[in-house]
Symmetry: C2
Subunit: 270 residues, 2 copies
């Protein structure tokens, strides 16, 4: 099944554009899990079980696993998702970017080793660094476009012929790099005006939107700026605000409450 | 010890600007190693033992390990280098790029987990995505500037106020991001003219130069364009041409011959 079809089905099935980012920070895990040798997996499993009906995707962030030598628990998390909730797309947030045979290895990491449905990638090295990913026609390739941080302005806003770089990139992806129709773009929730401009360029291409919750993106503004005519087109990702809503025995229920409130707030403006 | 001091000492000690890239591709490993459960480590060890006196650095490429679930063998390789050849800098080629707490995790991966002396990073997310790495003042942070592939032109050559993006980036790194004096830049060996322009902007900042050997960079042109007044300033990386010089029992000796020829050719033009 093609990634965008799986995503569309998930939007519809859960009536949700919310994605929960799995960023398991060891210093923030609930106390009762900390002794376990697979605390990260147990944490992710509890969050997933408490939120699966509220989301259109999960987005594990590989850096949190790599820093803890916990690649095995990343794999266990994705295997658990595939076994229990096979209809929910898994986006591996890795922001990989390299060329030639090295990019081939990164594509193997994401799609063969971890069986992710999609992976985030960095466009700085150009179109031939993206092809090793997009040639997996059933997988989604989520290309950084306009990120949510303040420093995004340093390169992404550079003006070229009166237009910022990130809009040139959006056109390039839409017109040149997307021949397998499996590209998506990252546009940070903190920049609704930039999101509106990207949406204008890319038609109904899905956008991954980090930066709501802890990073403070305005939900109403971003949904209005980014949604498609059908009221979808967005994968709105929240990580810390959901994961660390509570730190006691009821952390998973606290996460559920925040995820439900986020989903409902997003749906108000679709 | 600061990375640049370690690098300067290694240039001098080995009288070499050559770096060997450790890209252990399982389908190219010599037949006699393929049965071993730690074939990747054994291969790297043999290459390192055969070339250590000819190089100024080693550059393991993490994608090759990640695709094989072989993070343990990457760690063993770096631990072996630190134990046997502690004077040789280890540059982890990972091209990481992310923001805030996620970038912190990637810095932990490179510097705490793997004990790399330097790591390659991607500048697309801007200055605040680089700070989590540069604040490790003793470590080197090697920022992609002008890469060796054809697609490098897509974004890196975009003209802004009459100057390509990669030169704007080089200025920004030199003048703003390098307050700890631990930044380096990647400039592909296939573009001597671009290397000359970057060298003009960044003074004596060291440049990591992939693309000689298999990718066909012209050694004479790149050394002349990129060297500093002292005849150093370059870390010229060759991977496949050295690693896979031979495939029989004498693969390590074949690698040594190619590495020696590369070192000597580079030294002709310093």
């Amino acid at each position: 099944m093609k990634f965008n079809d799986k995503l569309r089905a998930a939007w519809s099935f859960s009536n949700s554009l919310l994605c929960v980012g799995l960023d398991p920070d060891p210093v923030k895990l609930p106390a009762q899990l900390r002794g376990s040798s697979r605390a990260i997996f147990e944490f992710n499993k509890a969050i997933i079980d408490a939120t699966h009906d509220l989301v259109c995707a999960y987005k594990p962030q590989i850096a949190y696993f790599a820093a803890q030598s916990a690649e095995d628990q990343l794999l266990m998390t994705i295997e658990y998702l595939k076994a229990q909730y096979p209809h929910i797309p898994v986006i591996l947030d890795a922001k990989r970017g390299d060329i030639g045979s090295t990019a081939d290895q990164y594509a193997l990491e994401a799609f063969a080793r971890y069986q992710a449905d999609a992976v985030t990638v960095n466009p700085y090295l150009g179109g031939d660094s993206i092809t090793p990913f997009t040639r997996y026609a059933d997988k989604g390739v989520v290309i950084l476009c306009r990120t949510s941080n303040a420093g995004a302005q340093d390169l992404q806003d550079m003006q070229i012929d009166g237009k910022p770089l990130f809009l040139h990139l959006a056109s390039k992806v839409s017109n040149e790099w997307n021949s397998n129709r499996n590209c998506l773009l990252v546009v940070g929730a903190t920049w609704p005006e930039q999101m509106r401009q990207v949406r204008e360029v890319v038609g109904d291409m899905p956008l991954l939107v980090p930066g709501v919750g802890a990073q403070g993106g305005d939900v109403q503004a971003l949904v209005k700026a980014g949604k498609t005519a059908e009221g979808t087109g967005l994968i709105i990702s929240s990580s810390r605000a959901v994961l660390y809503a509570g730190s006691g025995d009821d952390f998973a229920q606290a996460a559920r409450r925040v995820a439900m409130a986020s989903r409902d707030e997003i749906n108000l403006y679709r």
